[in-house]
């Protein structure tokens, strides 16, 4: 009966059976968390708390606590926003685009990657909210709601408004997609809890699973829903970073006003997102002993995507420079010249080193199948991608058209505190997810266990 392909590499190792899958993955939800989890969770809470203090101070005193000025109106805030949104993209890409391409290797990683998407988008959303001068009004004034001014509506010409729609749609659809995937797995935990006699847990997970029964007709509809959601998410995820890049591309600031931005931003988003998935999964598989499900083969495939997207990003950097030179617009050319040689040259060259040069190491099979090397490089890539956004945003506006207004940006403790806040938020949420939710999509993994598992003979 067992059909193992000699062409495809094994996705699940260790000779797992369907029962093993339920056991290995539900165990973390059912057992008390281990010490390592508590330490990590506690550390995240400390970051969260410190960041929360900085955020509260910012709301109390004003945006002046950040290092922004009359010339540099955005710096760390929007850098972090774009960085987090970019990270989020990998989750949707893995679950949606790879589903459409029928890539079975996604199944072990899509749940965690989608969770990462949700949390990253939440973190991202805190920045456009916090950066507003009047958050208490802005959070609903940016929506087309009827108001006391009669017919005062929002400005649909503004890329920021497009962002409001893009980010909220992306968040909602990703959340729904992720939750739909969780429903059958919640049902598994519910059924196990019923069998073990945990009444409360059974009731909670029953509610979470909407009373899922696993009937054939439901499965049929379910698969159809998943496929259509994937079909909707694919253009959606591409649109989100495209629209984020419109914030810059449709402006008139030299260095922002670049038509190459949409594809370049999307590639960069996937690049940083995959790096973040790797960082998280390398830790998760270790802490929860999931090495048989998230194998070296998975890591290698993700590293290959990092080489591809990293190279696209590298080509985009070079193209930008070429066009700035070829276009013969003095302000535009100066913006790029200033990036590489001006006061922020170090940020530019950090970006080049981390994003263009370091991923090329993955051409060597030894490096891309090495866990430690992958872990380090995945962090370096995300440092580079942070610098990319910083370089685009700050070096472009700090010296734009009128030299009289040129100035420098110096971050303050509150700039950093806001960034730390999102790290605290992200990891707190991720650890809670890893504890209470099944971190691997059991239903999907079970459906491939026969075709792609390493069998004991």
């Amino acid at each position: 009966m067992q059909a193992t392909s000699s062409v495809r590499e094994t996705l699940i190792t260790g000779g797992k059976t369907v029962r093993d899958v339920s056991e290995d993955i539900s165990r973390h939800v059912e057992n008390k968390p281990n010490r390592l989890w508590w330490i990590a969770f506690g550390f995240s809470l400390i970051l969260f708390g410190f960041g929360f203090y900085c955020l509260a101070a910012l709301l109390w005193d004003g945006i002046g606590l950040w290092g922004l000025n009359k010339t540099v109106g955005w710096a760390w805030d929007i850098t972090n926003f774009v960085w987090w949104v970019g990270i989020g993209h990998a989750g949707t890409l893995i679950s949606a685009i790879l589903l459409l391409f029928r890539q079975k290797w996604r199944m072990s990683i899509n749940r965690a990657a989608e969770a990462m998407t949700i949390f990253a988008v939440i973190c991202a959303a805190t920045f456009p909210l916090a950066h507003m001068g009047r958050l208490w009004l802005g959070f609903y004034w940016a929506l087309p709601l009827p108001n006391t001014w009669g017919s005062l509506w929002v400005n649909f010409n503004s890329p920021l408004l497009w962002d409001v729609f893009a980010i909220s749609t992306y968040f909602t659809v990703s959340l729904v997609f992720w939750y739909i995937g969780l429903i059958p797995d919640f049902a598994v935990i519910r059924d196990r809890a019923t069998r073990m006699g945990h009444k409360t847990r059974a009731a909670i997970y029953n509610a979470l699973s909407f009373g899922w029964d696993g009937a054939a007709k439901t499965w049929m509809r379910y698969e159809s829903v998943a496929l259509i959601l994937a079909g909707l998410s694919t253009p959606l995820v591409l649109s989100v970073h495209t629209i984020v890049s419109f914030d810059f591309a449709t402006s008139i600031v030299p260095g922002w006003h670049t038509t190459i931005f949409p594809p370049y931003f999307v590639a960069g988003a996937i690049f940083s997102g995959f790096a973040m998935v790797l960082t998280l999964l390398i830790v998760t598989r270790k802490v929860f002993k999931l090495e048989d499900y998230i194998t070296i083969y998975h890591i290698e495939l993700m590293n290959i995507i990092i080489i591809i997207t990293g190279s696209i990003v590298g080509i985009a950097y070079i193209t930008e420079f070429f066009v700035a030179w070829y276009g013969m617009v003095p302000a535009e050319f100066y913006a790029f010249y200033n990036r590489a040689t001006g006061p922020y040259w170090w940020a530019y060259w950090s970006m080049m080193t981390c994003n263009v040069i370091s991923p090329q190491l993955f051409w060597f099979k030894k490096i891309r199948t090495n866990i430690a090397a992958t872990f380090v490089l995945s962090i370096i890539v995300n440092i580079g991608m942070w610098f990319e956004r910083f370089v685009i945003i700050v070096t472009s506006i700090h010296r734009d058209y009128l030299p009289s207004s040129w100035s420098m940006f110096y971050p303050t403790i509150y700039d950093m505190g806001e960034y730390i806040f999102t790290f605290g938020l992200f990891f707190t949420a991720f650890f809670l997810f890893a504890k209470f939710f099944p971190v691997i999509n059991m239903a999907e993994v079970k459906s491939i266990i026969k075709s792609s598992s390493e069998q004991k003979h």
């Binding site: 009004l137 400005n155 920021l160 409001v164 008139i252 600031v253 009289s404």
Partner: protein, 479 residues
């Protein structure tokens, strides 16, 4: 060493006036600070490092047996071997505002010497290791050879070809020929049927004194922010005067262009909201807090603003100012801004203009309240608004008449005549060419000196500058 009266606070009688303390010096652009100007050569000899952002060291100056300690500021164009230091600082019996700023240099003068005179002998200067940062509102010296920002010419060139700059201006390629960038548009644009407010600023007559800046501050309740915030580059001035030194470097030598030449020429450029007809700031506001009026004004609706600062980022002229803190009703800004932070002070605020709160963007309104008042007066008397009836605060304060404001739709207005606007355009109608009044945003400007800053980006400002023309004929005869 020259001891002079400061341009803003004079002999010290105005040392307690925050408006003047925050008014940047015309040349050094320093506010709230006392400093001694020194040539680059002498500074290098003494080991003084004064970077672009005003970071420097204190120096001790000794003359006539007395010594004071002030910050050193390297001044391009200053003759080596000379020093310049302003009077009026370091007052001991002064109000809250002027307290603790600078040092008193009156003791350096001996009884026989009168103010503004120089001490020629026995002046010693010594560098100390104490670091100091001078709050300057402009930290870049030159205009980087950008002819689209400042247009300069010399008289002989101008006389031989008045259209020099029009010929040199960048062109873009249309289907069949090269055209000025502003002449192509993806949309038709709106028409201003009634008034079309505009301004012309003559770079020739502007002396850079800064009285327009002060007038604007007073008229529009512009918050004063103090030294710390100026160092943070957050001064709120709606109108500023950009001072550019000339540079000897080639236009492509970006490193060289950053440095002013040893003996630079200076150009002053008053810079305020350009009221662009195709304003980039308006497009990007998510809540439509900044929109255009039907009279050409770029309007800022403070009530609606949520403070994303996107408009300021997208403003090519960087004239938008954000309220980083609550500058009014905030004891932290009591010293810098007593007019908004004390009950008595609030009596001097202009009741026609809102005091902006924290978290909103603000900028030049073309004195919308004055325009409104002018229109209402005219309406009461059942007549059209006359030219000269609406005067902006900066225009009123300008002693040389460099700023002209008026209705560009009125053929008899001073601005129409100055810019030599052709008010009629030819329109083809039913096969016949007719001349109709031009209500569009594209006015035909006849004055060859008129230009708009950053013309080629197509934002179509309502402010025109008149090319600076220097008379160097005498120099050329000597050469």
């Amino acid at each position: 060493m020259v001891i002079y009266e400061s341009c803003a606070i004079g002999s010290g009688s105005q040392a307690n006036n925050p408006l003047l303390q925050e008014l940047p010096d015309p040349i050094t652009k320093a506010t709230w600070d006392h400093y001694v100007t020194i040539s680059l050569k002498d500074a290098e000899a003494l080991g003084i490092e004064n970077d672009a952002e005003g970071r420097t060291q204190l120096v001790t100056i000794t003359a006539n047996g007395k010594s004071v300690s002030v910050a050193a500021l390297v001044q391009p164009g200053q003759a080596p071997g000379t020093l310049g230091v302003a009077l009026g600082y370091g007052r001991t019996n002064v109000g809250l505002v002027g307290k603790g700023i600078g040092a008193n240099v009156y003791p350096l003068l001996t009884a026989g010497e009168s103010l503004g005179y120089s001490i020629t002998s026995g002046v010693k200067i010594e560098k100390t290791e104490t670091a100091f940062q001078i709050a300057q509102t402009q930290i870049h010296q030159t205009y980087m050879g950008r002819a689209n920002v400042v247009q300069e010419s010399i008289l002989s060139d101008y006389l031989s070809n008045p259209n020099e700059w029009n010929d040199k201006a960048p062109k873009i390629t249309s289907w069949d020929k090269k055209v000025p960038p502003g002449s192509l548009s993806m949309w038709k644009g709106h028409e201003y049927k009634n008034h079309h407010w505009g301004m012309a600023i003559d770079l020739n007559t502007c002396t850079g004194c800064g009285s327009c800046v002060v007038a604007c501050n007073v008229e529009n309740n512009v918050a004063l922010v103090g030294k710390e915030e100026v160092i943070n580059r957050r001064e709120m001035h709606w109108l500023r005067i950009d001072r550019y030194y000339s540079s000897e470097a080639d236009v492509e030598d970006y490193q060289g262009l950053e440095k002013a030449s040893d003996n630079p020429e200076v150009v002053f450029q008053p810079m305020l909201c350009q009221h662009c007809n195709n304003a980039p700031c308006e497009t990007v506001c998510p809540v439509a807090a900044t929109t255009h009026s039907t009279e050409g004004l770029n309007q800022m609706t403070y009530n609606r603003c949520i403070g994303t600062r996107y408009c300021a980022n997208n403003c090519p002229y960087k004239v938008r100012r954000f309220n980083w803190f609550k500058y009014h009703d905030n004891q932290k800004f009591l010293q810098a801004n007593p007019a908004m932070n004390t009950d008595l002070g609030r009596m001097v605020l202009n009741p026609d203009v809102t005091v902006r709160s924290r978290g909103v963007m603000e900028k030049c309104s073309f004195c919308a309240q004055r325009i409104q008042a002018g229109k209402l007066n005219a309406k009461k008397e059942r007549r059209p608004v006359q030219d000269g009836e609406v005067v902006t605060a900066c225009q009123a304060a300008c002693s040389t008449g460099a700023i002209v404001f008026g209705d560009m739709n009125d053929p008899e207005s001073k601005i129409s005549k100055l810019l030599e606007i052709d008010h009629y355009m030819e329109v083809e109608k039913d096969g016949k060419v007719e001349k109709v009044f031009n209500h569009t945003i594209d006015k035909k400007i006849g004055n060859p000196r008129a230009y708009r800053v950053l013309e080629e980006i197509g934002v179509k400002p309502n402010i025109f500058y008149l090319t600076k023309i220097r008379n160097k004929d005498k120099d050329s005869k000597n050469a």
